[in-house]
Symmetry: C2
Subunit: 493 residues, 2 copies
């Protein structure tokens, strides 16, 4: 009788996971294939699909099944599945229908308002709806937190088990050393960069070569172009997108490696987990650790840059960079900039830390939405040493808050921290990693990540997963050491 | 209170329609974009989506809402919506869950078996599963028919309100005159055809030009390549596919016009019907009337062929056809052939009539599955005057029966009959149609079809729709007159 409940729940969940894959592919289609005139109809379609998924998450039968299954005698895998199903059900059931609907409606309006405000460089036009979104998200957080910390309740959605307080300590250790490293690097002469234009065909050819080089399985995926690169789907249908900018081929190439990191995580999950709660990456932070270690610790290493330089010469001929060392510098240039998504490895986390501190203050009620622009500009000046010139280069640059995504930003830096830990263990496990990367061979590195992390899907909690893979608790120290070593050498500090 | 029931039902139905659009796009994706390795996962996704749609169709709330709404005081539109919802609900509710599941499972196996049997040219390998599928479909038909005619119950799914008996009379009038016309034409010397190869780029360029020329709205659609051309979707997202064959550019060009006919029907439905039961084409037969009148009566006319000849000259240069008249003959060549989908306008319906008579005999129990091959071959010889050489050119050529689609074939010929009726009215309404087509201008013709037929979506029953548009009951006579006139002139009979 109890195993019947288990089997019924798993069959129900399997359909839910399959429907979630369809919903995800609908987003992929929207960004890559959808005719422009279909936008309104698509909103209706997505809303209908979301309603179906929501109804399944709060379906009372899920609660009944969960209660009918005793905890003992279950395998580790089955316990993990039940834990994840219960988590989803509880989160969904705690949020009143009215609130969920109001959030969806306000966020939709918020997104449009944000886009207009950004185009007009007018933060005041966005502040009122941001204030509404914030209030609704806080109400949701209160429903989820059951008396606990509001920010943690939001963060938990993207990074199960993470606590804001732990991140404050970790990020607090990152900030001064990153600021100091940044100042030291920018006091030195700039490294030469690219100056030519690179045709789209060559960029896309190299992007495909890089995807293959990093183990992307084209038989179970495809590469298309989109305005913003992303990875979509789980299991046997994981698609990525990239983009080309004539003067900046690194945008295309490193976006591709980044998305392949996300996609490889999904493609390498144990096939027996497919369409189960274990069948996808476990958190945003762990996902970002994979995209970033592929992109940065591997893809932007001196060894791999040597190989990539030769590929670019083969594709584009002489493009004004005389040798591998100069190319390595061009790939890793550190320059002043306003925009998070365009930031280099060194400065990227400073952009995230700024957002993390501001959004915690917003959720705690220590900062009002209307005061966010001033707070942003002050903090930016403090960490980056120059003034924000306009809101579209500052507080209005990111879509996240307009979409109600509070608690999402810190997972970017957590991912980088995890990548630092994993890289430390990886280099110990594969002593001749650099020699392999210099030949464009990532197979030992990606196999290590697959075996120690990716294959497990959502079986373990994020923090435990990293601990299992690295043998020690996550720490910011490996990332800092890595960055300090790399940029000290590169800029001759 | 009753209007609340109406509103709730319409909101529910709107989500159902939106989900049906998503399910349709999933099929589109499978034929155009899906990575090959995703096939198994996709089966699970589609099954989950079908289960959601099925559950919504049989949802007991639909019955409750329908009962709570009184019939009086409703507009014609609202009455039509309720009629269509009730029809879907009743059909779905009449079929026991067990039977629906068994049909799905057997059809899935049937399709695989058919594909293998066709590759091996071995009908005996397919006959047993065909027999199972037939028995299950007959069981379904009995559940639907409630004592009425079994074949009509199957036919009704594709052509609401149609009756096999009426088609027997109509098709009985078609057959002898088509056989006689075919024999007369094939006793004359063959017309010259194309002999060169045509590059893919030029074919696709012309395909897009033709789509535009026939009024396809690219802003709310897109054209891709697929193994089998099709049209997919309703409202603001209607996509078509085509294919290219180097030696046969007419395959690409006329497939495109054909699919544009289907797509234009969907795109031209009154926008206020979007995501309602009225928001799509009303039946397979009416749909086929649009694809066929675009493709044949307009696209293969002497006038339009003149314009198309000049476009092909512009695109490919001299391709061995000296003038417009010769080109018109090449487009409309009549040749012996085994395959329905490759048949010309004259012979096409003979292929359909053969299938219609055989499947009626199967459903009536007058013919056993195991005897189908012999019956096919006899009938083919009788109508076409030569022997079938192998099952893949005969009884195994079409996918339909392996998919359980009994009652589907006659809608093809019904569509051609409807196209004949519509064409007769169209030429009366647009006296200078040929002069317009000679300039590549289809706007008056497509506007007439839009205003008199397409815009109504599913508001009227199929037969009533044709009667409203043409002013008289559907008849095979206009199609026969059109074909006899056209081919008598072309072949100098």
């Amino acid at each position: 009788m109890t195993m019947q409940a288990f089997d019924e729940l798993m069959a129900f969940q399997r359909d839910t996971e399959a429907l979630a894959q369809i919903a995800g592919r609908l987003s992929w289609d929207q960004e890559t294939m959808m005719p422009r005139g279909a936008a309104d109809q698509r909103s209706d379609e997505r809303a209908a699909m979301e309603a179906v998924l929501h109804q399944r998450r709060i379906d009372p039968r899920v609660r009944d099944w969960l209660e009918a299954i005793p905890g003992d005698d279950l395998s580790e895998h089955d316990r993990a599945k039940l834990r994840l199903i219960r988590r989803d059900h509880d989160r969904a059931a705690k949020v009143p229908e009215r609130l969920a609907t109001e959030i969806a409606r306000t966020v939709s309006r918020g997104h449009v308002t944000w886009a207009e405000a950004r185009a007009d460089d007018d933060f005041a036009a966005f502040a009122p709806v941001l204030s509404e979104i914030l209030a609704l998200r806080k109400e949701e957080a209160a429903a989820l937190a059951c008396g606990g910390n509001l920010y943690d309740a939001l963060l938990d959605k993207y990074e199960p088990g993470a606590r804001g307080e732990d991140l404050v300590a970790m990020f607090g250790a990152l900030r001064p050393r990153l600021v100091a490293l940044r100042e030291a690097v920018l006091s030195k002469p700039a490294l030469p960069g690219l100056t030519q234009s690179f045709n789209e065909r060559g960029q896309m050819k190299l992007a495909r070569l890089l995807a293959k080089t990093f183990g992307y399985d084209f038989h179970r995926g495809r590469v298309d172009k989109a305005v913003h690169p992303f990875s979509s789907g789980s299991g046997d249908d994981v698609r990525i997108t990239t983009r080309t900018v004539p003067l900046d081929p690194f945008n295309c190439l490193y976006s591709t490696i980044h998305e392949v990191g996300h996609a490889a995580y999904e493609q390498n999950v144990d096939p027996s987990y497919r369409l189960s709660p274990l069948g996808q990456g476990v958190s945003m932070g762990v996902h970002e650790s994979q995209s970033r270690i592929y992109e940065n610790q591997l893809g932007r290493s001196r060894a791999f840059c040597g190989w990539l330089y030769r590929q670019m010469r083969d594709t584009f001929g002489d493009f004004g960079i005389p040798d591998e060392d100069t190319f390595y510098g061009a790939v890793n240039q550190v320059r002043n900039g306003y925009i998070r998504t365009e930031a280099d490895e060194l400065q990227y986390n400073l952009h995230v830390l700024l957002r993390f501190d501001l959004e915690r203050a917003l959720v705690a009620g220590d900062l009002e939405a209307i005061d966010l622009e001033a707070a942003w500009n002050d903090r930016f000046l403090a960490d980056f040493g120059f003034e924000v010139d306009k809101p579209s280069n500052g507080v209005l640059q990111d879509v996240h808050w307009s979409a109600g995504l509070f608690g999402y930003f810190p997972t970017y830096t957590l991912g980088n921290v995890y990548a630092g830990c994993l890289h430390k263990s990886l280099t110990a496990a594969v002593p001749d990693l650099d020699a392999q990367l210099a030949q464009g061979d990532t197979s030992a590195a990606t196999a290590w990540l697959r075996d120690n992390l990716q294959q497990h899907g959502s079986l373990y909690q994020p923090r435990a997963l990293i601990e299992n893979a690295t043998g020690s608790a996550p720490s910011e120290e490996p990332l800092l050491r890595y960055l300090e070593t790399k940029f000290t050498a590169l800029y001759d500090l």
